[in-house]
């Protein structure tokens, strides 16, 4: 397996949606290719970091504003 072929399967590897046979091929490539191993590990870490740190937090007061807008809309007939 070449690095390009490995890269084409990177998402499937990360999402754990590869067949057992394909996983064995991918792992065999990983054992001999430091670059692909780094790419896989750091891509996994990228996802994990974004998942565990919530950027763009909702400003306080926005929920209340929305609630009032919905209630106002409701008074017009809901």
């Amino acid at each position: 397996m070449t690095c390009t072929e490995f890269l084409a399967m990177l998402d499937d590897m990360i999402d754990d949606s590869v067949t057992t046979g394909m996983r064995a091929d991918l792992e065999e490539h990983l054992h001999g290719c430091e670059h692909c191993e780094v790419t896989l590990n750091t891509t996994r870490k990228t996802i994990q970091i974004y998942r565990s740190h919530e950027i763009y937090e909702m400003p306080p007061g926005l929920r209340e504003r929305l609630h009032l807008a919905i209630m106002a809309r409701c008074k017009k007939g809901c």
């Binding site: 890269l7 990177l10 990228t46 809901c78």
Partner: protein, 218 residues
């Protein structure tokens, strides 16, 4: 972070469907429950697309109001959240077009970029690299890094990887084909990885790209 859609069997009713039914029968508090459940996610999607806090606030409000008004049009065969995302994405794009004085902005625009299709910076990361930054610095890094991606990439990454939607639900919510979602996701992941390497590389790794410019001194 918990994923959005709980896994329900084919014959099992999604809890949102029951909430929608209650709203349709005049129970506004059920809509409040839906708002509380999805407000943060909708706000983030709006912020990713508009890149403007005020616009994102307005989009969130308009999207929920529109969903409330058009609830009769919601078909039970699609998931409430994917339907809501679609409304929010359209509202965000409209807002963006207005800001860009009518210039077409589309989520399904396929941006061909050299960057990110092949990893170039192959430096390994430090163990637990986020520990080297304060929370505020880390937030700035993550925000700055994702900001540079095309809107379609950011939203696909947000829905698939941060919110945990399936490829199929992401495609439905964004009106994209499944191969288009997959292609954007791979490129988004690789571009983010490449850009984060600037900040997270091991100390003795050679710099393959320009020095990180964040005003974050390390």
């Amino acid at each position: 972070m918990a994923t959005i859609q709980s896994i329900a069997g084919e014959n099992e009713q999604h809890p949102d469907v029951a909430l929608v039914e209650r709203v349709r029968n005049g129970d506004v508090s059920a809509f409040d429950t839906l708002v509380r459940k999805y407000e943060r996610q909708i706000f983030r999607i709006a912020q990713h697309i508009t890149q403007n806090r005020e616009d994102a606030e307005d989009v969130m409000q308009d999207a929920f109001l529109k969903a409330y008004e058009k609830l009769d049009q919601f078909q039970g065969n699609s998931k409430f959240y994917t339907w809501l995302v679609r409304i929010a994405v359209n509202e965000s794009l409209m807002r963006l077009r207005r800001r860009r004085t009518g210039k077409m902005v589309s989520i399904d625009e396929d941006v061909e970029t050299e960057e990110g299709s092949v990893p170039r910076d192959l430096a390994d990361w430090a163990p637990d690299p986020e520990q080297n930054y304060t929370q505020t610095e880390l937030h700035r890094i993550l925000e700055k890094t994702i900001k540079g991606l095309p809107p379609g990439f950011k939203v696909v990454f947000e829905l698939r990887d941060v919110q945990g939607l399936s490829t199929e639900d992401t495609a439905e919510a964004l009106g994209l084909s499944i191969p288009a979602v997959k292609s954007r996701l791979l490129r988004a992941r690789l571009q983010l990885r490449e850009r984060l390497t600037r900040y997270f590389r091991k100390k003795n790794s050679p710099a393959a790209v320009g020095t990180a410019d964040l005003g974050v001194e390390k």
